[in-house]
Symmetry: C2
Subunit: 144 residues, 2 copies
DNA sequence: CTAAACCTTCCACCACGGTGGAAGGTCAAG
DNA sequence: CTTGACCTTCCACCGTGGTGGAAGGTTTAG
């Protein structure tokens, strides 16, 4: 089985070597084998692991939570019923978060729409950056 | 119009006075009026403002983002087209996040289900906390 | 008048999730 | 054999979103 050095793993999983060592220190990743030189040697599937971590984490899960989930996924002596409960709770929390997120998105869209209406009425939206929208003749200057 | 001292506002909005001062320093909340004694005096609707902040923030928006949104909601000289774009982008980001969240939830549920199946097969789920599930005769010791 | 409960500012510290850099060992190319 | 890219450890620091506490002024209750 081909093994990866930390830099190779980092490259393939699009994280920094630093972050990988950090995850190891945080017990999210198991400590890998070491070569005779002391270099970390990762199995190829560590890439998937890292990608999963990144995805879960990018969605608002803390590393601590990811750690527990990872432990289950790996199946080797999972941290017990406690973690099972934790995951159930997490799933419920996700449901709540989802519906809240939907509401927030609606509020944002409403704000945007309201602003659109104000512009349509010709209000001075942002005097020092762009002039009020005049009736007929769009084609505002394209300033960001 | 009745005004609130910071502690009263904090109580009604369920945040700490510290946090309120912090939001002010972070320019998320506008600096309120001051009494002759130097005390901050908030209008009653500051409560709604704080609740909105807490909700948005509790959904993964940063204070910086909340700040911009708040600026729009208040309508007084919103920070221009820039913010409009930011909110559009944010709405799209929310959509992505929503679908990712749905996927993550599914993965978690699958992990839970898989674990359930392992338990059903009688695997030693967590030897040092609860004994393997024996066929017939549930009623495991209730240790968390 | 006094004590408690507020309020003010300011500075330190916390957890989280890393990044940067120093000091040193190792490996591959020229 | 040197150079440079990599690897190792360790310690410091960053931004985010606050909290804690000191030092001092105010307001309120007894």
């Amino acid at each position: 089985m081909k093994t990866l050095k930390i830099g190779e793993l980092a490259g393939q999983a699009a994280v920094s070597p630093k972050a990988i060592r950090f995850y190891e220190a945080a017990r999210v990743l198991p400590p890998p084998a070491r070569g005779a030189n002391g270099y970390r040697l990762y199995p190829a599937d560590a890439v998937d692991m890292l990608r999963f971590i990144k995805q879960a984490q990018g969605l608002g899960l803390t590393l601590a939570e990811v750690k527990d989930i990872v432990a289950i996924r790996q199946g080797g002596r999972p941290p017990c019923r406690h973690v099972y409960r934790l995951l159930q709770e997490k799933a419920r929390e996700l449901d709540r978060k989802l519906s809240d997120l939907v509401m927030l998105r609606r509020r944002i869209r409403e704000s945007l729409a309201a602003w659109g209406r104000r512009r349509a009425r010709g209000a001075a939206v942002c005097p020092h950056i762009e002039a009020p929208v005049r009736p007929s003749r769009r084609r505002a200057s394209r300033r960001g």
